[in-house]
Symmetry: C2
């Protein structure tokens, strides 16, 4: 798939505003920050993901001649806008949290400083990229926390919302500790390990289930996984035992069985018993079918003899919370801090930094949302990543991001690692930031914006 999408994948209002900015010479530097306002229910933390794709987008955004021709033909825009877009490049500064970092409501994960029309144009796609991967990484983290030591595989491409969602969900879940994905393209594009078993159609296409198993095992002899729930799971488990003995002389070892339906806690125990009694205790049991963190947690709590889980739809759609209240807001323009005062959507003005305190036990112990030029206790989480439109360093490898995410999940206070909790993480606002917000409000009153 094409990694770079059209620059026209944006909202029409961005082009309308840029036309007006150009007409009125409003092209000074602006600072926007991207953050999530309020966490969805059942989310005690978020895990930042998608920065790599966001930076790739900023480095490569260009309008092709055919884009400009088409815009001209719509008759909606003036020549100055068409000329501006024809030579458009992003030349701004970007600061961001590292991918894999845990964050909370109102904490910016990305800050863009660029001439106002540039910073405006990229809003839609930046939210589109960062919201989605962060959403999936957060969901995946919950599943990882629910299944310590288990093999987790993303099975969700088919029910993901389109091609890009499927591909990037594989990436976002791998970052958080999934072992891999079923999506072949994710291995080609990102080097993510792929896992594949067989479908019910494979079994059904054979007149005999045993023949299906044997054909598959002989054709894919490297530790194949056999799907055993097409007709009768326990009967199929006995067939696997019989087949294992037959294949042994040919040096073929069955790797695992997969159960995709039914009461998998009970079935896995019965299947384990059949496999063990049949002398094939090394065949693993893998389950799939509508699983999410709650059902996985119950299975783990019941100590069911299940070695791994394929997680599909609930992962790649983040089914219980399919969006984040993610915003990209103007915080500074023309050297002045800005904020909006819309009901329920008031923002903190100015460029900001997040400082995180780490307790003696290595756990996160509270964040401070502060002005960018303050010195506050704790580790700053937002770092420069791009200057004059160019990256400041080579992107981290997926393995490095994965290691960072794993450390972050380890540093999470134990109450926040639970699937449900009333505990929350302490994020305070620095006195200097509060003072700045008051100053902006006083200025807004002076400008007669606020009654």
């Amino acid at each position: 798939m094409s990694r770079q999408v059209s620059p026209l994948l944006t909202d029409l209002y961005q082009l309308n505003m840029i036309q007006a900015y150009l007409d009125c010479g409003e092209t000074q530097d602006a600072t926007f920050e991207l953050f999530v306002r309020k966490l969805p229910s059942r989310r005690q933390f978020l895990l930042a993901a998608g920065l790599e794709q966001a930076l790739e987008y900023l480095e490569n955004i260009r309008f092709a001649p055919e884009d400009i021709d088409w815009l001209a033909k719509t008759g909606k825009f003036k020549q100055n806008l068409l000329d501006y877009l024809r030579s458009f490049e992003f030349t701004g500064e970007v600061h961001a949290m590292k991918e894999g970092t845990i964050f909370f409501g109102n904490e910016p994960i990305l800050r863009i400083t660029a001439p106002l029309p540039q910073a405006q144009l990229v809003e839609t796609r930046l939210i589109n990229l960062l919201q989605f991967q962060t959403l999936i990484a957060t969901k995946a983290s919950r599943i990882v926390l629910a299944a310590p030591g288990k093999l987790l595989v993303d099975f969700g491409l088919r029910r993901a919302h389109g091609s890009e969602a499927g591909l990037l969900a594989a990436r976002a879940s791998y970052i958080c500790g999934f072992a891999g994905t079923a999506t072949v393209l994710a291995e080609k594009e990102f080097g993510i390990p792929t896992y594949g078993t067989m479908a019910h159609s494979y079994v059904q296409a054979h007149d005999n289930e045993m023949t299906a198993f044997e054909h598959f095992a002989r054709s894919r002899p490297n530790q194949p996984t056999l799907l055993i729930d097409s007709y009768d799971t326990l009967k199929a488990a006995h067939k696997v035992v019989a087949l294992s003995k037959k294949l042994k002389s040919d040096g073929i070892t069955i790797g695992a069985v997969r159960i995709d339906s039914g009461d998998v806690i009970t079935l896995s125990r019965q299947v384990r018993q059949i496999l063990d009694a049949g002398g094939v205790p090394d065949i693993k049991i893998f389950v799939s079918g509508g699983l999410e963190e709650d059902s996985i947690s119950s299975i783990v709590a019941a100590a069911a003899p299940i070695d791994g889980f394929g997680v599909g739809t609930t992962l790649t759609t983040s089914s219980d919370a399919p969006s984040l209240d993610c915003a990209y807001k103007l915080e500074e323009y023309g050297g002045r801090a800005r904020r909006k005062r819309s009901a329920g959507k008031v923002t903190w003005p100015g460029s900001k930094q997040v400082f995180r305190k780490i307790a003696g036990n290595g756990r996160m112990a509270g964040d401070t949302l502060a002005r960018v030029d303050e010195t506050v206790d704790g580790e700053p989480l937002i770092h420069p990543v791009m200057s004059a439109g160019k990256r400041l360093s080579a992107p981290p490898t997926l393995t490095q991001i994965r290691e960072h995410a794993a450390r972050e999940l380890e540093r999470l206070p134990p109450p926040l690692r639970k699937l449900d909790t009333t505990a929350y993480y302490n994020v305070t606002v620095s006195p200097a930031l509060t003072r700045l917000a008051d100053e902006v409000d006083r200025w807004l009153i002076k400008q007669e914006h606020v009654l």
Copy 2:
């Protein structure tokens, strides 16, 4: 954006199975059907969408030399599979429901008949395309039913799950009666009308809200929409009145105001009163911000003076039901009807047709799920669309699909048009199909699949 994605956007198990099919000479014609098992809660019907993209995929799927080289390098596949994929083309038959057709659980919307490896390979992407657009079209239909006579615009690109979801959600909602979208690329790719206002950042970037409004109106003089909730909505409405008078002499007419926060029922009444008293009764009121069919229905029931709605996240993620239980199942292979018996996932065997009865009042009056070769009362909904891998006719225009969907929504029985109902639509299974299912089960018992 590239309309054609990589053929590697598929599950690894498809390639594993194809390897085994080729090794064992299992390449006879297979028939698969795509359907939704069970409707999500709060969905009394589904509206089929995405067929055009599915057929485009089938017509164009090819493996590039670099895909084959990469597959070879993984070391997972044998030469016969690589050779097969190198010359892969889809050469099968396709039958489908027209886009915009209303359908129900277990009713196939697509039937593929092709050599088994071909029909298998395309499963993942066909579900990925048809599930998503059908999901969004169904959600959009609910919003359309909740807002008769109102202007509806898709604002959801930023929170859609990636680029393709954003683009195709614009298409799926337009099919169902949305007036258009904010997504510029949807106009270029599909000719869908685009709508655009301004963001809060535009207002914030100006020291004075009135200046922002005036700059924008002069730069975008064709009935501009002004966003009035950045600071104080009512104060901003008064500014719009004053500005309207000032702009009149220059021949500029403000088209609408947009309110994006707060209690929009109360605010719209107050704003309407200000605009009317100010002598600008033609300025329309447009609202946005977290809307879905329920809030829109309440607004309509309250007769709030709102002319149109921008609907974002809830539309493009189908937030209350972000996936459909969509399956693609083998129904026939080697001339024999097939079904799976997995717990809770039993399928109806064989190639099927859906017959729909229409009552004297023009409303849908019940469907019959039947064998494809039966003659049953009613109108058959599944038609041939592709033969030997080529389309049988030019694709319908979006306008034609939109007209079909509008007729379908009109034919829906009134109880099913409600947002919440215990009413359900009657789908019966023909005696001949029931007999076939029994025959398949008896055969499965004979094959010793079922205990």
